[in-house]
């Protein structure tokens, strides 16, 4: 999966579960903080992580469920690329 495809997967998930077609607008730009901008709350992060585990067949150590890895589009994509080698 390319980075652009991963990104679209993420946007689609946010639209399906939280923003219903307005995820792009809510995010603003790809380095913006999900928490600070109300894109996801802490319960939403857990739901996202469960989805990513299922979608990419990976196990995400909950110790890594933090702002450094998951608080923006770019951070999530970087984490996924590191875990999947950029493809799934």
């Amino acid at each position: 999966m390319t980075r652009a495809e991963m990104r679209q997967m993420l946007i689609d998930w946010l639209d399906d579960h939280y923003h219903f077609g307005e995820a792009e607008a809510k995010i603003g730009h790809d380095d913006a903080s999900f928490l600070d901008n109300g894109v996801l709350d802490s319960l939403g992060f857990v739901a996202l992580v469960v989805h990513l585990e299922d979608r990419f067949h990976i196990t995400i150590d909950r110790k890594n469920l933090n702002r450094e890895n998951f608080d923006s589009v770019n951070k999530i994509l970087a984490y996924l690329e590191a875990r999947t080698g950029g493809a799934s």
């Binding site: 219903f20 077609g21 709350d41 909950r62 469920l65």
Partner: protein, 663 residues
């Protein structure tokens, strides 16, 4: 006995012997001459001799009442029985009564996620409520009035509620996260005269203003003649027609007025109007009485939960859930309330556990969804916070899976995890905790005393087969009725028509050989998604405004990715030529989130060719729910189009899941 069959918690015999349940059991034995050889015998007696049980309970609990406690109950039919017609009492007066030596003990702590914290002693809380009541009475509030509130779980809401109900008015509240249509669908039925409201509420670090919603709500409530800001944010109410004041101003004005004793009202005077989820129409307005509510809560809290002086209860709830009303009554047992408002996981996933520790809560009430969240995030609360004061965790709202019992034992501490279940309809519990009994995985410890709770199983089914939860004897917390239902026809249809003469609750239950109970979810059309009851009618009302939709059905389906959890599935029959594409799906979800709430948003929207209906045209959610959960629907001959069920079972987005799992 396998490891899973062993109790996950066994009470210390000395602690059990000192419990109020043990004391009351001994009282009943002494007064009746029975020996009660163990809990089952006592429980059976309480249901069989329920008049004796309630007479002795009133004597033992000694609430502040006046009048004659005889007869205990007029009539034997559950639907019409009238308890304690000769007694008068005050709900607020009982909760706030003077207790020598305890007047300066903390009775209420209110905290929120932003760090706001206030506390009130018993004396100070009583003074606030009395002042607010004097202010409300000066404003013309009294018996027969309906007072409503959009409120946060904080001290202001509690003061307002006790002040209004103390005057004989009824109270109905909704949390600030409900959409205006949801609010109006409930409040509008009551013709309320006064609206209390917060101006904003905190969630996940942001303050969410309510101003837009309030304007829509107030415009839809023409009978409201006064608005009272609970938090002093009058800006949110500016421009609205009714006069605006604040709770603080009411209290200040009331403090200068002459004091008066709490008026004692008849035992069956209305206290709270609660709202059902709305399965087939507008939510039902369920009227609960003063005496029934107080007695039931005293029984559940003192006997089954062992609440006593010095306890501190933190129950995660909102003002729209019956547990908010339930927690209020803890004051009657001199148990302090810790009201927490905001996200339980902000700013850190362990935030709420830290509040439990900081406030030295002795009983923590929560939901399976929160415990599952803690498990999913690998939290270890006993390491994150000092939980040494905590002696019990109570959980309600949805099914509590076996593995969460082990998770609590390993990660919270050696204490009872008490699954409690009942609901809005009885403002209490049918099954709950018990200080005398062990805790078995997946089970509520016992049936509530005085209630003849049974499982209506299919003929010849084994004792531990799933059945419909019914109650077979009169009980004081049976609602007085439904609002605007003068002949009781809707009340009868809701609770008594399915099994004539019995209270049919709408839950599936297994009564276990340990004397406990497993609640297995709803048996009617109401959905319970992560602990929140959702009536499909609210969703249907919104879809009427989506022209592409011809028919809709919302059902609850087991969520394969979430053990023990369920998800909301929306089945749609679309108009000819319409395709359920992504933009339409998102538009439907957005409308539902905007006009109802996020919890009403379906996890899955699926287009189907037909939906099950009976021969007289009534849509059958029950048949559709059975089909999407891989079960054989009962009573197929009642359907005019049973063939559509196979299409649901084999739908790639629905039935395929069962094939994959071999269900």
């Amino acid at each position: 006995m396998t490891a899973d069959e062993r109790p996950v918690f066994v009470p210390d015999p000395d602690v059990a012997a000192r419990s109020q349940m043990a004391d009351f059991l001994a009282t009943c034995a002494r007064e009746t001459g029975n020996t009660f050889d163990g809990w089952p015998a006592f429980s059976r007696w309480s249901a069989a001799c329920w008049r004796d049980f309630w007479r002795l309970f009133v004597q033992w609990a000694a609430p502040e009442v006046e009048g004659d406690a005889e007869p205990v109950c007029e009539g034997d039919a559950i639907e019409t029985a009238t308890f304690f017609p000769g007694l008068r009492l005050s709900y607020a007066g009982n909760l706030l009564r003077e207790i020598p030596g305890r007047e300066d003990a903390v009775a209420l702590v209110a905290r929120d996620e932003s760090g706001r914290r206030v506390e009130w002693t018993r004396r100070a809380l009583r003074a606030r409520v009395e002042a607010a009541a004097r202010g409300l009475r000066a404003a013309g509030i009294g018996p027969g009035d309906h007072v409503v509130a959009i409120a946060r779980n904080d001290d202001a809401a509690i003061v307002a509620c006790l002040a209004a109900t103390g005057l004989g008015a009824t109270w109905s509240s909704i949390g600030p996260d409900q959409g205006p249509e949801s609010v109006l669908a409930r409040f509008r039925q009551l013709d309320p005269c006064l609206l209390f409201t917060a101006g904003s509420h905190p969630y996940q670090g942001a303050s969410r203003p309510l101003v837009d919603k309030l304007h829509a709500v107030v415009e839809g409530l023409p009978t409201v003649r006064r608005l009272v800001s609970l938090d002093g944010d009058v800006e949110a109410l500016r421009g609205l027609p009714p006069p605006v004041t604040t709770l603080a101003a009411l209290e200040a004005g009331g403090a200068a007025l002459p004091a008066f004793p709490w008026p004692r009202v008849p035992f069956n005077h209305p206290l709270f109007v609660m709202f059902s989820s709305g399965t087939t129409g507008a939510p039902k307005c369920i009227v609960h009485g003063v005496g029934g509510t107080l007695l039931e809560h005293l029984k559940e809290q003192r006997l089954h939960s062992d609440f006593r002086s010095g306890d501190r209860l933190l129950f995660t709830t909102s003002c729209g859930w019956m547990m908010w009303n339930w927690q209020l009554s803890a004051l009657a047992s001199d148990t302090a309330i810790v009201a927490y408002d905001g996200s339980p996981t902000f700013p850190t996933p362990d935030a709420l556990w830290r509040v439990v520790a900081d406030e030295r809560a002795t009983v923590f009430g929560t939901s399976p969804a929160f415990l599952q969240y803690c498990r999913d995030t690998a939290l270890v609360p006993r390491e994150a916070a000092d939980l040494s004061c905590l002696r019990a965790v109570q959980s309600t709202g949805s099914v509590l899976s076996d593995r969460l019992y082990d998770w609590v034992a390993e990660n919270v501490g050696s204490l009872p995890l008490q699954s409690i279940s009942g609901g809005t309809d009885i403002l209490g519990c049918f099954v709950l905790g018990n200080p005398l009994l062990p805790v078995h995985r997946g089970e509520a410890q016992s049936v509530s005393l005085g209630l003849d709770v049974r499982s209506l199983r299919p003929p010849d089914a084994p004792a531990e087969a799933v059945g419909e939860l019914v109650c077979c004897n009169p009980f004081p917390s049976r609602p007085l009725g439904l609002h605007a239902d003068p002949d009781g026809a809707r009340f009868h249809a809701a609770y008594f028509a399915q099994n004539e003469g019995l209270w049919t609750h709408g839950d599936f239950v297994v009564l276990t050989r340990h004397g406990g109970a497993r609640i297995l979810g709803r048996s009617d059309g109401v959905m319970n998604i992560r602990g929140i009851r959702i009536g499909p009618a609210e969703i249907y009302a919104i879809l009427l405004d989506v022209p592409e939709v011809r028919l809709a059905m919302a059902v609850e389906q087991i969520a394969p990715e979430e053990p023990g959890g369920t998800r909301l599935v929306l089945l749609l029959v679309l108009r000819d030529g319409v395709v359920l594409d992504r933009p339409l799906t998102l538009r439907i979800k957005k409308e539902i989130s905007r006009r109802a709430s996020m919890v009403h948003v379906p996890a899955l929207v699926v287009a189907v060719d037909d939906l099950p209906a009976t021969h007289n045209g009534k849509m059958s959610e029950r048949a559709a729910r059975d089909a999407v959960n891989g079960r054989q629907p009962a009573n197929l001959q009642a359907l005019r189009n049973p063939g559509c069920l196979e299409a649901l079972r084999s739908h790639p987005e629905l039935g395929g899941r069962f094939a994959e799992r071999g269900a």
